[in-house]
Symmetry: C2
Subunit: 244 residues, 2 copies
């Protein structure tokens, strides 16, 4: 069974997800940034909900920390990096722990922390995320894709990626059933040719373009170019193969 | 501006809606039942969130009350009527106040009570609801369509009616803009030929059919056959023209 929550608030705050594998989706830009940071050599990404928590955690962790994050799409004063994935180069993050404060993605990650497994998906790692999902289904887990949305509300880009992932999972695993939300996500995704078209229609995509982040949109629309899935372990996101 | 909330939880609980007109949508079956009860001559429908509240209110109001409602699609023991709109005949409700306890519709109505105007929409009164919405836009209000959903989750039937209403409003009022949620609702609705097809795909529609409510589905799919909009005033729903 593939289920899709179009916004995190479809799940009650104390929702029990013990037998579920969850993929959190925040395409613009948290989950695109997370997978890019890890691909560039960051050892882990620690998602936090606000800048104050980020500062406190960075103090506790000491050296080797990169402070990163945004509020309303804009970088935070005094932080090393914003939430533009293009900033996350090897020179900046290789061997470092990235403490990432974001508007929507962190809220979604917190709401699903009781799940058996939590990973993150972006267009960038779509095929790997579909493989991860199929493996979870084969382990007997139910699958839930959670769209982070934009400030509680529906977002095109997250829903469309949920639709693409549902299609990719169905290609890999015959006979898997879909919830109403998953079928809706597939139908919405099939109205587009690619992620670029989705971003052009999306309110959040348009806003990022106005703010000067057009290059981010082009980058985040690249599909299945990173072959790994960030997984949540002890409140840190790491690539599965690096977890010992 | 037409905005659509695909589930009530897209709106924070204390959301301020002072400059907004809201149409609440719970096609299967609360808003279909409400408009049917009023069309059959009920003086008003009082939505309540649970059976205990319904019993308390009925005692306070005394004579001329019809107790009605459901939980999980099934009638409540000791109540006069369930939530099947076909039960709401003139013999049963003419001149009466209906106290209605439902699973999803009441939650949505409670979440929007700070709005300037609140009405309810079903396929049954779609054209009238679109007229009501256009009048609200002409009064300078913003328009919000709230899908009640099924136990917090996305539902096809509510989202598709939101899509139909958005189309009808755009036909009546050129140049009105749409939120991302409204555009998504339109795209989803355009994937169907009529409400019957929507109910056949919907999990909640299928469940009602299994429970023996097939005739309700056929009835609730009838479109624009009641030319009036229930409006919320002092916690009661009444047809606008009857409000003095």
């Amino acid at each position: 069974m593939i289920d899709v929550a179009l916004v995190p608030a479809e799940l009650p705050e104390n929702h029990q997800l013990a037998d579920q594998a969850v993929l959190v989706i925040d395409v613009l830009r948290a989950t695109s940034t997370i997978v890019t940071a890890l691909a560039a050599g960051a050892t882990s990404v620690v998602p936090v909900s606000d800048p104050a928590e980020a500062r406190k955690l960075a103090e506790a962790l000491g050296d080797g920390i990169v402070m990163a994050g945004e509020r309303g799409g804009l970088p935070l004063p005094g932080f090393d990096l914003g939430n533009s994935p293009l900033e996350y180069t090897s020179e900046k993050v290789q061997g470092k722990v990235v403490v990432l404060s974001t508007t929507n993605g962190t809220v979604a990650l917190q709401r699903v922390q009781t799940a058996e497994k939590v990973g993150t998906a972006a267009f960038l790692n779509a095929a790997a995320a579909a493989d991860w999902a199929v493996q979870a289904l084969n382990e007997g887990l139910r699958l839930l894709l959670v769209c982070a949305g934009t400030v509680r509300r529906f977002s095109w880009e997250d829903t469309c990626l949920a639709g693409l992932l549902t299609c990719l999972i169905q290609e890999r695993q015959e006979g898997v059933t879909c919830s109403d939300g998953a079928v809706a996500a597939v139908r919405l995704w099939k109205g587009f040719n690619d992620a670029n078209e989705v971003f052009m229609l999306s309110r959040h995509g348009k806003r990022l373009k106005e703010l000067g982040f057009g290059a981010d949109l082009t980058y985040c629309a690249r599909t299945s170019v990173i072959n790994a899935v960030p997984e949540l372990h002890n409140a840190r996101l790491m690539f599965a193969e690096r977890i010992s």
